[in-house]
Symmetry: C2
Subunit: 471 residues, 2 copies
């Protein structure tokens, strides 16, 4: 690039300026006045005034982009001036952290809370209410029919319970959610953080949303999920629902937070008389182990109730491994249960069996059993060691034989202790507080009080990420 | 906002400046020098120098955004200077329109071209090669295993033929495609246009891709699709594969182009001896009318071959309306056919029956019959009047009775005429030329030669949109 001005300009004599010629702009080909020495841009093109101005605007906007994002979407935390004595003023963290403006993006399939089954939707419902209770400004972007204490913005005009995973629905839902988030920012009320629970599209496009995004991984890292997260995981901060789940993540995927799912223990009955049956609840697939529960129950000489749906693809396993044992007496299948019936089924059980053989990311049924006052006997897979408090809310055992032996042991555990354990670890307020720490880490990197904030976005080590939320 | 300067500045006396006080920035709360009359931004906040500078950068970048997009992503067409006589120079359109840099975004499920069935993938394969032949710089963003004359960029590392419509796959594919398009632009080689054939995610996010997007609607406007396009259709230019398809679009969805699907007539055999059977090919559902084809064939006293898969959900209709008529002689089902066997099945038929009762968006099977030299007898639904040339490549009839009668009439139509009709209307070169006009309309709004260009993006009327591509 040949600089304009320089020595010639300082000479001050117009007679010394280079001769003026005419030519065409290299880009738009319009006739233009051309000086022999100048107007070339960095690619060596000779541009007319209009094209050169456009070029400069581009360069300027590119340079400004980082500042724009910071300014638009990063709030600075309030700080207070403290008289340090001797007339000096120092800046200290605010005594009360300011409230956050939070958008929770729920999936498009079911309302929040769900009317029947709906794991993610239940988590989002409890989290939304608890965040409102903590004083935050919470907007719930969700399927129609959603409700709660947060401001609810329904995105689509109907539910899609039978199209779970369909891109036509998810793309529509997330496209509308992004438009909402952007409109709020442009209207001068940007969200501090968007907490995404919606699936795949939002994370794949999170780098195109001008707001910090925390994405919670709700599922397990199967082959599709691992490939997906390996490619797109760096587009948002990532949180996990157990350390076990985080341990199975693909290489390089950050750990910005680990926060368990919440449960509202007070919503579970305490007045259901205990009966003598053991309970297994889940999908009928080998990983979940209904056949192992049957073996353990028979070894213990106890009754077993099995609850859950037989989903497409599971018919054969059910017919071969489960159905032959259903005798209408010692081993019974009660189908899929929900609502109050499900709560009573959990609460009346003597023990809940969890003989899984796969890396269960969370295992909500264990927490439900605890909330119902029923001790859990589980194999040490996946999240089990993080959920079951041995000797208080249940026991962790190695195989069906040990599970059968443990049935007598857990009879000594008090239902109240099971409930207390669930409340201490998984109450919505505790979960909300841990998510709040994660939000502050990505929304307000400059606030001095958040030790975790410094590196939480991007390069934080796993250990630090865990400490930040486990504190 | 209180302006700084003004009268006071002109007075020139520093003694008259307002008294200097100290305070805190309303935004970051850092201590700052404050003048009594100034530094308020438009929201009435008093800001420190740092926050005010950020604010100005935001405002500036917002103002510049339009210019940036235009500059980065809109190429100007070359123009030439012409001596108009008498020493005047006028600007004329270039004699040769410049080549375009085109990204074709194919779906993630199957390779381009597909090894077996794959309507969209076949269209993209033929279009890509034809655009290369026209001198354009074409990149094919597609599933692995794709090939052709264009530069191929495979996005995922495996095919997903059994997950069609799954958001985990589509979001991954499109997220990678967007990253590629953006990387090319930042590397100084932006695409003039991205032509999207990939499904839903790309259109829902097309306004976040800093390149002009043409999205071709390949399916029919069922309920989900109509809702989706009504919400997201304005994020890209939209093209249709028939006037009939465009007519069923939701209110307000633009018509930027109507371009039929291409077929490579030369790839079909011309040496297959004709036999006496009638042919029906399709999915076994009432709309496609296999039962009406059976009725027409029986009324005509002719043999009928039915080809196609019985897909999940179609078992009952097949069992009730089709299976009872399969006698192994007059009416036979040959299952799903592909490759050379399919071509011979089409080419040896006396006539192809298309007794549909739904708004068929295109009806590739009709064009395949024509390319095979087989006349088509079709009901006047959907795209039929745009595909069949009555008296040359087939006949359009009102019901099964008329269809039976027409079987004798189409015996007089020459296979060569059917092929010629297909070639004239649907050859890849013709299709590519029409898409090219649509590309130029959205990529180069300033080029004088494109009459269609002026209003093609956004407000163009349907009629003009159609003329632009039908020319």
């Amino acid at each position: 690039m040949t600089p304009l001005g320089g020595d010639r300009r300082r000479s001050g004599a117009s007679a010394l300026r280079p001769p003026v010629t005419f030519g065409r702009c290299d880009r738009c080909q319009m006739p233009t006045v051309r000086r022999a020495d100048g107007e070339e841009d960095e690619r060596g093109e000779r541009l007319c005034g209009s094209c050169a101005a456009g070029e400069r605007a581009v360069a300027q906007a590119r340079r400004a982009e980082g500042a724009v994002r910071t300014q638009l979407y990063t709030r600075r935390g309030s700080v207070e001036l403290v008289d340090g004595g001797g007339g000096t003023l120092t800046v200290s963290p605010p005594s009360t952290p300011r409230a956050l403006r939070i958008a929770l993006l729920a999936p498009p399939w079911l309302p929040v809370p769900p009317s029947g089954y709906g794991g993610v939707e239940t988590v989002v419902a409890l989290l939304a209410d608890a965040l409102v209770e903590r004083g935050h400004d919470v907007t719930l972007l969700a399927a129609p029919g959603s409700r709660g204490r947060a401001r609810v913005v329904p995105l689509l005009d109907r539910l899609h319970p039978r199209q779970i995973g369909a891109s036509v629905v998810e793309a529509d839902h997330v496209g509308r959610a992004f438009a909402h988030v952007e409109a709020e920012a442009l209207a001068g009320a940007p969200y501090d953080v968007v907490h995404d629970h919606s699936g795949w599209v939002a994370l794949a496009m999170a780098d195109r949303l001008p707001a910090p995004v925390l994405h919670t991984v709700h599922g397990s890292f199967d082959e599709d999920a691992s490939r997906f997260y390996a490619e797109h995981g760096a587009k948002a901060a990532i949180s996990y629902i157990s350390r076990a789940q985080a341990a199975t993540r693909p290489d390089g995927l950050a750990v910005d937070a680990i926060v368990p799912n919440p449960i509202d223990v007070d919503a579970w009955p305490t007045d259901v008389p205990k009966e003598d049956y053991l309970l297994w609840v889940g999908r009928f697939c080998p990983e979940k182990g209904p056949h192992r529960a049957i073996r353990a129950a028979k070894a213990a000489g106890r009754r077993l109730l099995l609850a859950g749906p037989v989903q497409p693809g599971q018919e054969r396993f059910f017919a071969e491994a489960v159905e032959p044992h259903l005798d209408g007496d010692q081993v019974r299948w009660v189908g899929e249960v929900g609502g109050r019936a499900k709560q009573e089924l959990f609460a009346a059980a003597a023990a809940f069996l969890m003989p899984i053989r796969w890396p269960e990311p969370f295992g909500m049924v264990m927490v439900e059993a605890m909330a119902a006052g029923t001790p859990v006997i589980a194999f040490p897979e996946g999240s089990v060691p993080e959920v079951v408090e041995p000797g208080r809310s249940g026991l962790v055992v190695g195989d069906e034989e040990a599970m059968a032996a443990a049935v007598a042991d857990v009879a000594e555990l008090a239902p109240a202790d099971c409930r207390a354990s669930a409340r201490e670890r998984f109450c919505p307020q505790r979960v909300a507080a841990r998510y709040e720490a994660a939000y502050r880490a990505i929304a307000t990197p400059g606030v001095p009080d958040a030790a975790a904030a410094a590196g939480a976005r991007g390069g934080v080590s796993d250990a630090r990420g865990e400490e930040a939320v486990a504190a």
